[in-house]
């Protein structure tokens, strides 16, 4: 039980995908305009990554490994992830058109959100078992969602701030992200795995 808890903490805070591993910066900057869309995106990412960790783990262990097709890992993982994202998009378009419209291009871009593939690959690399993989996937994606949500709150503040013209928009957002990641360094060493 403790391992799983520590795994979540480690994935979500200490080794936060966005702020310490610097993965998934594109949706991090793109969807952080309003809290509503950010929480939608966070939820979608949590769903996709958690499911994708499960499916890719099963795939790796029962199909690729048994058949000795380890080299197919990357391409098959991408295929599975893409399917999931498409599925989420189709469902979202039907269920919540407003959120779908707000997420816009960033929703299909979960496919190319490197977090997703990173989680899937790390699960295999770190030799996690099935449950650990799902836990790690959940932790990592929650970390992404947390970082995204925090950043969105900040973004709503800095979007109404008054930076010099050269710094307006993405530049000041990136500086804020940098400062935020400095703050996240406080979690360094929190979990010794």
């Amino acid at each position: 039980m403790k391992t799983y808890f520590l795994l979540i903490v480690s994935a979500a805070l200490v080794n936060n995908f966005v702020l310490t591993r610097f993965l998934g910066i594109c949706p991090f900057l793109g969807v952080s305009k309003s809290v509503k869309t950010a929480s939608g995106m966070g939820g979608a990412v949590i769903f996709v990554i958690t499911c994708a960790s499960a499916v890719t783990w099963l795939f790796q262990h029962y199909i690729l490994d048994t058949l000795g097709l380890g080299f197919l890992q990357t391409i098959v993982f991408i295929l599975v992830i893409a399917t999931f994202v498409q599925f989420v998009e189709i469902v979202l378009k039907k269920m919540s058109p407003a959120l779908h419209g707000a997420l816009g291009i960033y929703l299909p871009l979960i496919t190319t959100n490197c977090c997703v593939l990173a989680v899937a690959v790390l699960n295999i690399k770190e030799n996690y078992n099935f449950l650990q993989s799902i836990t790690f996937g959940f932790g990592a994606s929650s970390g992404f969602a947390i970082a995204l949500l925090i950043f969105t709150g900040l973004r709503e503040k800095i979007d109404r701030s008054n930076p010099p013209d050269a710094m307006k928009g993405t530049s000041i957002a990136l500086i804020t992200a940098g400062l935020l990641s400095m703050a996240f360094m406080g979690f360094a060493g929190l979990v010794k795995m």
């Binding site: 000795g68 097709l69 295929l79 599975v80 599925f87 378009k93």
Partner: protein
């Protein structure tokens, strides 16, 4: 079985399975939408200025398809967009003439004095709420630049305390017309060059007291102008923009106006 065959089979099966899943999903969660809306949206200029009266280009595209809205409302795209839309939709419509905004006031700092010092938000609507604004003339331009701020193309400049439109930059979206609390910005055909630069409905003596370049309602211009191209609305001369005034006549009118508010642009 060779490694290649296995690869092909595994990869192929996975692909087919994923495809099938998506196919089923898209059938179950299908949404109907007229594909023409997206196409029309692409044909529109995408300025999202709202000049057509709809909330942005996408909204206008929807209105064209769903509610049969006229296709010549876009002032930004002008004739070209109308042509494109009419070929695509098979509808005909005459291109509306290009319109530009004009501020009908020339009462700048030197000509129209203020009656007090204003301390507050630099915004015309906000200033107008404080004791009705601080210009002596109740119709004059306040010059706090609300119009300039909403202008999507930066066509409005605040010069000597009044707003001036640069017609070559104006796309005629009408955002400034909506925002002006004194309602002195008008959209006019771009080809018209003679204007009465005053919006004061007050009578002559009252206007004279508050502004050096106001219309004093002498009605001289309405008599001189051909074809009733300038008419009197109470004590204010108003140009009828549906009628053309040739340049020669315009020069005469400009020179003759005793209030010095008829000018050419």
């Amino acid at each position: 079985m060779s490694i290649i065959e296995t690869t092909v089979i595994v990869f192929g099966t996975t692909g087919i399975a994923c495809g099938a899943l998506l196919a089923i999903a898209s059938r179950v969660f299908a949404i109907k939408e007229d594909p023409r809306i997206g196409k029309v949206c692409e044909l529109l200029p995408g300025a999202n200025c709202g000049g057509c009266g709809y909330a942005g280009c996408a909204d206008y595209a929807k209105a064209i398809i769903m509610n049969d809205a006229p296709i010549n409302l876009c002032t930004v795209g002008g004739a070209e967009t109308v042509k494109k839309l009419s070929t695509f939709l098979g509808k005909t419509a005459e291109a509306a003439e290009r319109k530009v905004a004009i501020v009908l006031c020339r009462g700048d700092e030197a000509n129209a004095p203020k009656n007090s010092i204003y301390n507050g938000i630099v915004d015309c609507s906000a200033a107008n709420l404080v004791s009705g604004g601080n210009k002596k003339c109740r119709y004059g331009c306040l010059g706090y630049g609300s119009c300039a701020r909403v202008c999507p193309t930066g066509a409005i400049e605040i010069k000597d305390g009044i707003a001036v439109v640069h017609p070559e930059l104006c796309i005629g979206c009408g955002a400034c017309v909506k925002v002006c609390p004194r309602k002195i910005i008008k959209l006019i055909p771009a080809s018209r060059k003679l204007h009465v630069f005053c919006s004061s409905l007050d009578k002559g003596p009252a206007v004279k007291k508050v502004c050096k370049v106001g219309c004093i309602g002498c009605s001289l211009c309405s008599k001189l102008a051909p074809d009733n191209a300038i008419v009197m609305s109470g004590a204010l001369a108003v140009v009828d923009y549906s009628k053309n005034i040739d340049d020669e006549k315009a020069t005469i009118l400009e020179q003759k106006c005793p209030g010095k508010c008829i000018r050419k642009t």
